[in-house]
Amino acid sequence: MVTITIGEFTRVEGNGEADIIIENGEVKEVKLKIVEGPRFFELLTLGRYYYDVPDLEARICAICYLSHSVASVLGIERAFNVEVPREVMLLRELGLLGEFLESHALHLYLLVAPDVFGYPDAIKMASKHGELVKEGLSIKAFGNYIREVIGGREIHGINVKPGGFGRYPTIEELEKIEQNSEALLRFAKRAVNVFADLKFYGAKAEHFVATNSYLYGDKLIACDEEVFDYYEHIEEKTLPYSFAKQSKYKGDIFMVGALPRVMLKSEQLTPLAKKLFEDHREKLSQGYVSLNNLAQAIELVYALEKAKEIARELLDKGLSCENVPVEVQEGEGIGYVEAPRGVLIHHYKIDSKGNISYSNIITPTALNHAIMELSLYEEAKKNYGSLDEKTFVQRLEETVRAFDPCISCSVHLVKL
Amino acid sequence: MNPYQTYDAKILEIRELTPREKLFTLRFVDSEANKEFKYKPGQFVIVDIRGFGEFPISLCSTPTREGYIQLCVRRVGRMTKYMHTLKEGDVIGIRGPYGNGFPMEKMEGSELILVSGGLGMAPLRSVLWYAIDSGKYEHIYLLYGTKSYEDILFRDEIIHLLKHGDAIGCTVKLAYEVESPSCIYLERGFSPKVCKGVVTDLFRGMEFDVENTYALICGPPVMYKYVIKELLDRKLSPGRIYMTLERRMRCGIGKCGHCIVGTSTSIKYICKDGPVFTYWEALSTRGLI
């Protein structure tokens, strides 16, 4: 038995490794290991007052901190039966869209694009494809701007609160968001073309899971049309070789992320994004995980269109800037949010004093851990022996990168 | 005129006085600025390392020798550490001179006792050479307390004065704390002017005409109390005791507020009301020393 170890993936967020176990000249098993130290967020929030919890949860991951804040806030609000007005929900959506832009742009332009064009990193790629890198950076910067406006800071802002916000955006800020969304749209369209002829690789996802609404939800949906709460059909198990847990949907390997979202929720896409989706529908329905990148590019278009739409609606209606009072009571609630890399679940029980008595957080990279491992296995099996070791390892790394994996959030789970 | 603007000054020479202190000899790049820069012993300048920051440093050269100014800089923190990396020919910014300085005219004809500890030698060196060069003072005593032989600032000058000072009306006395062969050699050569001990030990056996003497003190904060006691014990009037003080300062011209001392009855700015104060002022301004 030989083991090939891929030490620390590069150009992914967080620290991950893989062991490829070879027996009798054949790939027998692949172990995807998350070697980043555990951070114990569930324990951290135990006993903490609900109001401070979203700020703590944001620290799970910097790339998608706002998804964590919003998921946390949704879970808490559901526990208290708080209904927030449309204005607040729209602003949260706007924030999540900003996060899509920031995260997808980072992933597509800086991490995946070098694979597409055959460069070791974006800086070296910039010499030939400078325009593209610049376009990506401007989308990313804009996404960050939205995160700053809505979330309070580019990273780990604490503006998103149960019941509303600390500070509401100004007219000028909303106008700027509307204008920039419009202006950046042509860059996003170009991205769709760039990622449209990606090779198929990785596993073929049999099951897709997403939230029932495009950016968040109160239930999960799956490709078998099941509408459910995560604990009904998703089972988590711990692994002896990784700090991350692995999940199965009804006992099967499944996928969350951009591909499942566009496949399951295409009717909710904005006009141009929908058209682009239809153009590539056939391809996308092949279900290879590598297609996730194409879906992400389509989502860039979606996010810009949607952000513009939301900003306009808010500008037309005007902001009332009022928070809903939160009444502390004993309760339980789950927040489902579509983080850029897929479904994110925050589940809390809160006691009568408003302190957290139970918390469970399931992150997209954890949900995707199994299919990531499977993809590595299939890719390894296909290529072992036919490729030299360097190209072999490179191919496997590319496979992992297709997921837009984020290791920090997987602990419970893979870094740049 | 913008008082915060600084003038280009070129480093003509750098001498390593001790491992911690370097002597920078500077000249303004602009010849007008050279002519206009008039200063008194005891005044200081603000050194400006552009893009990094500013800090106050006493002038340790004497106005009697024109064409250059000298600064003795001890390496203690970020700016001074950087200053020590500069080379001859580099250009820095200087503004000043600031502060009141010692009343040299008023003291003419009298005996001067300069009491210095450690880096306090820097401003007093200006007085020392001013007094010697001008020849207008009856006699000059320099009582200098140093940690060790290696720490003696302007060592060549001090040894020169130990040897030949009396001839030009200047008596140097040196106290050292850490024994070393060099010190013992000095002590043997210049006994009783050199001894082991602290600066106050140098007062032993010293008598002076309290009507015709001024004492000028500069040293670390802890030193003042003990030196002043020696002087008062010999009945020197507080009005004849001058000391130069140090406080953190940013502007040097009485704006930034850092060097404010005193209480409700007296507020003083070290930078513009000082840095030279008489002991009377110390008595009426709490916290001055």
Binding site: - | M1, N2, V76, P220, R250, S264
Partner: protein, 337 residues
């Protein structure tokens, strides 16, 4: 034509007068921002809260900015940051006018701080009368009425304002807006006196300044300082909001690879480093020393400028630990007896 020191501005002309000030400079007036007031650029009278108590930052912020870019580093040389535009400070209270005069003593003293001077020369100060709230103690310090330091001062009347002209510029403004002013009547004067009297009786706090300076000096070892050392957060909020505090810190910052700026910002004597000198000696090593130092500094009486405190009450209103300036001084006095 009216060339008088006292004129009347009838209510119906108030807005016209306000708008006419725009030609003298950018109007900045107290605006309500959440639960505080702040001097802000305004375009119309609607935005202004004339019945404000006190702004959080005093008008000092227009002359010594909280963050003030002094010099720009270009090719190894400092260039002056300039660009002073004319401002009209509309609705300044008497205590703050006194505050500015104390700053004048510092910043206009030789060598003159050119930034301060330029801005001062480019500003018009329009004072407005006020009613004290629970924090004000200006009356006891004699800063409740401004005799100088403003261009125009508006005193509330039932049907307008009695306007005192305080400078040549003030006269020019009145001259240029001749049509909006009227001569004052006996009745206006009567109301003015009544208002001032009512105001004088509305103060809830007063500082006993009798021998204050000496009393404090004697109280150097007072146990009261120890008590407050425990309460005081040492956060510097009191310094930042005080109209007479003026300590500033300077730092050089890079704006790109080869260019920098020299910026000064408000500093506070509550910071550990404030009294620190080379060699690590700290002249005010403990919070007690720093706490006491602030009271000493504020209670210093300069014969030509008065106390370093104008009784505006900002330090009380914005102290998270609710330490009260007057109460501390009273307690110190009490402990001495």
């Amino acid at each position: 034509m009216i060339i008088l020191r006292y004129v009347k501005l009838p209510s119906e002309n108030f807005e016209e007068f306000f708008n006419s000030l725009k030609q003298w400079g950018e109007i900045n007036a107290p605006v309500k921002q959440g639960n505080i007031y702040s001097f802000k650029k305004v375009d119309s009278l609607k935005e202004v809260s004339l019945d404000y108590t006190r702004t959080m930052l005093p008008p000092k912020k227009f002359f010594v900015k909280p963050r003030d870019e002094l010099l720009k580093l270009k090719e190894g040389k400092w260039e002056e940051s300039n660009g002073t535009k004319p401002v009209v400070l509309f609705g300044v209270h008497s205590c703050d006018i006194h505050g500015l005069q104390i700053l004048d003593k510092v910043y206009l003293d030789e060598p003159v701080d050119i930034y301060y001077k330029k801005r001062r020369e480019n500003s018009i100060i329009i004072g407005i009368s006020c009613m004290p709230d629970e924090y004000c103690f200006c009356k006891s310090l004699g800063t409740d009425f401004a005799m100088t330091g403003f261009d125009l001062f508006l005193h509330e009347l039932p049907d307008g304002y009695l306007v005192r002209v305080g400078s040549v510029k003030g006269h020019e403004i009145v001259w240029a807006n001749e049509g909006v002013f009227e001569p004052i009547s006996e009745e206006d004067l009567k109301y003015f006196r009544e208002f001032e009297e009512k105001r004088a009786n509305s103060f809830k706090r007063s500082l006993n300044k009798e021998g204050l300076a000496d009393m404090l000096d004697l109280a150097f070892e007072s146990p009261v300082w120890k008590k407050y050392e425990k309460i005081c957060l040492g956060c510097g909020n009191c310094n930042m909001v005080c109209p007479t505090c003026r300590c500033y810190e300077v730092c050089d910052l890079w704006v790109n690879a080869y260019e920098g700026v020299r910026v000064r910002r408000y500093d506070s004597c509550f910071m550990e480093s404030h009294g620190l000198v080379a060699g690590g000696h700290n002249f005010r090593p403990t919070r007690l020393d720093r706490f006491r130092h602030r009271y000493y500094c504020k209670s210093y009486f300069d014969p030509s400028a008065g106390f370093n405190c104008v009784g505006c009450g900002r330090c009380d209103e914005f102290c998270p630990a609710k330490i009260e300036h007057v109460k501390v001084l009273d307690e110190v006095r009490e402990a001495l007896k």
